[in-house]
């Protein structure tokens, strides 16, 4: 199960994930996020993992997909508030080399200048 909370500030899309991100839950999430990115001309996607308990390679695929899309508008994917398991997966899959990693949303806001 995955609960998703969404906030949009200017060109930044905040996605707060609560639960488990796997092949079953990623499809619904992808549909929503892809639509929002196009509709609101989003440049930065912030994925807040504070309540995300589990992720597998399906989640990695999803993040790579959004990175490729936002790269075209000189944007980026930011990941924050990851637990040890999520961080390890991010590191092992090399996502830390293509995403911006922050400790929490406050740091993200400072970085993006949208506070």
């Amino acid at each position: 199960m995955l609960n998703v909370q969404i906030v949009i500030k200017k060109w930044v899309l905040y996605v707060r994930l609560d639960g488990e991100l796997d092949q079953y839950t990623v499809d619904g999430l992808r549909t929503r996020i892809v639509e929002l990115i196009e509709k609101y001309q989003i440049r930065y996607l912030v994925i807040n993992c504070e309540q995300l308990e589990f992720m597998d390679s399906s989640g990695v695929g999803f993040i790579i997909g959004r990175f490729n899309r936002l790269k075209k508008v000189n944007g980026a994917v930011l990941l924050c508030s990851m637990n040890e398991h999520i961080y390890r997966l991010v590191y092992l899959s090399g996502l830390h080399r293509i995403c911006i990693i922050k400790n929490d949303e406050e740091e993200v806001d400072k970085f993006l200048g949208v506070a």
Binding site: F54, S57, G65, L92
Partner: protein, 143 residues
């Protein structure tokens, strides 16, 4: 010490969460460290998802077989499908290789299973199915 459980379930993606939770439940009384349990859940998630998406091409009428066995300080995870099988196992195990790139899959499933397992065996015959056997050394919390 020996402990064993086996199960069969429909090849539905919604059952991947069941497979992970069943493993976590089986291991609960063994008092494993949380990061070990998370690695085991990830191995199972990748293996079962592969059975459903690749082995059975999302045919939900099919069945996935899973067994978990503890022998002393090792957990042996076995995940079996009787689906399409893998033509080239070496290729399938390469990082970032995916037969279905257009579906936005990372191609990292096998790599992650490899990293999180202490031994990983992949047996597959095209047209007959695939068996994954992952062995995980389990460390107990000092009491």
């Amino acid at each position: 010490m020996r402990n064993f459980v086996e199960m069969k379930f429909s090849a539905k993606l919604r059952n991947v969460v069941f497979a992970r939770a069943a493993a976590a439940g089986f291991l609960l009384e063994h008092d494993l460290r949380l990061n070990i349990v998370n690695e085991i859940k990830t191995i199972i998630s990748e293996a079962v998802t592969n059975c459903i998406v690749h082995g059975y091409l999302s045919n939900e009428e099919e069945l996935v077989y899973m067994s978990l066995e503890i022998v002393d300080d090792k957990l042996i995870i076995k995940v079996v499908d009787t689906g399409t099988g893998i033509e080239d196992i070496e290729k399938a195990r390469e990082p970032l290789y995916s037969t279905r790139e257009f579906e936005e899959r990372s191609g990292l499933g096998f790599t992650i299973m490899d990293i999180f397992s202490d031994e990983l065996t992949v047996l597959s015959t095209p047209g007959e199915g695939t068996t994954i056997i992952a062995v995980k050394n389990i460390e107990y919390d000092a009491v």
